[in-house]
Symmetry: C2
Subunit: 210 residues, 2 copies
């Protein structure tokens, strides 16, 4: 935007930090909210996937590159959480870490190991805190909207939707209230879920105004 600016030298006068991205990759598997971790080959401790920011790269691109290279994960849309800036948090030097969260479908963790987020995670660095932030952001999203991260393929039944929300919330939601709160944000397809026991359930899609 600014046009009349010319003193590129001043920037180089400051020492600059390395900037890393670390990402909590969340998913729902077996009715449990899980985060993908990997074992650091050097320290042998569990941690979240991350990388250093390259020149000319956005933070979101760095996240996508780290997930592609370290876990074979493609096509995520990361969201920023927080910058961790404590001096001395990384023994290798001055490093700022920008924590991110990404959500993938159940089979999408690839080479990451799933860990249920209910456990005390025991991850390296401040990665436990990153998981906490990621989970609370996701829960706030799911409290308001039907499956905003699109974990569930459309069309789906209200029960299937509630089971995903149960897993994210970490508790059983009340079926009646859940249905009443979600129905205004869903659109009936007219089709029914066939093949199960009991009355067949109506199938829905998310309304575009999610």
């Amino acid at each position: 935007m600014a046009a009349t600016d010319r003193k590129p030298k001043t920037l180089a006068h400051y020492p600059r930090p390395s900037v890393a991205v670390d990402t909590a990759v969340l998913t729902v598997a077996d009715g449990q909210l899980c985060v993908g971790v990997l074992r650091d080959p050097r320290s042998a401790r569990l941690r979240l996937p991350g990388t250093f920011l390259h020149e000319g790269e956005t933070l979101a691109d760095a996240v996508r590159r780290s997930l592609r290279e370290k876990a074979g994960i493609e096509g995520v849309e990361p969201a920023q959480l927080h910058v961790f800036d404590a001096p001395g948090r990384d023994s290798r030097g001055w490093v700022l870490s920008v924590a991110h969260v990404a959500v993938v479908p159940a089979t999408g963790l690839r080479e990451l190991q799933p860990r249920a987020v209910t456990e005390a995670m025991g991850l390296d660095f401040d990665h436990d805190e990153i998981v906490r932030l990621a989970v609370s952001l996701l829960r706030a999203d799911y409290a308001e909207h039907p499956d905003p991260a699109r974990l569930l393929p459309e069309p789906f039944t209200v029960t299937a939707l509630r089971e995903v929300h149960d897993a994210v919330a970490g508790e059983r939601l009340l079926p009646d209230s859940f249905r009443r709160r979600m129905l205004p944000m869903l659109r009936r397809t007219g089709e029914l879920q066939r093949g199960g026991v009991g009355k067949p359930a109506a199938l829905y899609r998310r309304t575009t105004t999610s």
Copy 2:
């Protein structure tokens, strides 16, 4: 935390970005939510106060330093908002900007010029967006708790509290609902506000569990 790590050279191999902090300093003056701006001496455009992060300094310390040096503001507790990372957003080079928000009492803007946030701000860089984020965070806070930023000196009347909340929300809140929602989070001092017209109002303090 990690102990057995020795390869300090690898960090230096990457080009590193300059990291800046930019801060929306919010306050309430004349019943209006205002943000403190200053005129950039070089570009002559309005912008938020900011600075580059120094080595060994936390982001919060950089924010405090920038506010002290550029505006004479002391003793704020900044909160992080977002990292702006678009390559080319700063013509001087590769700069990440970590947006912050800080709240000061009515007289606390010092050398910054107050601008009501209802206006289309027209600030430099992405500073309009920073103000938007700062305001929505503050509004979310005030919707839940009585004057969480402690703009109002204790003790105060419910009416004075509501006027601050009115200013933050940018609209007149309903006196009845506001009183009923806030009273459980307030503690009566027993004193009364004397000297005004009409029935004297009870004085309250925030409960410690804010």
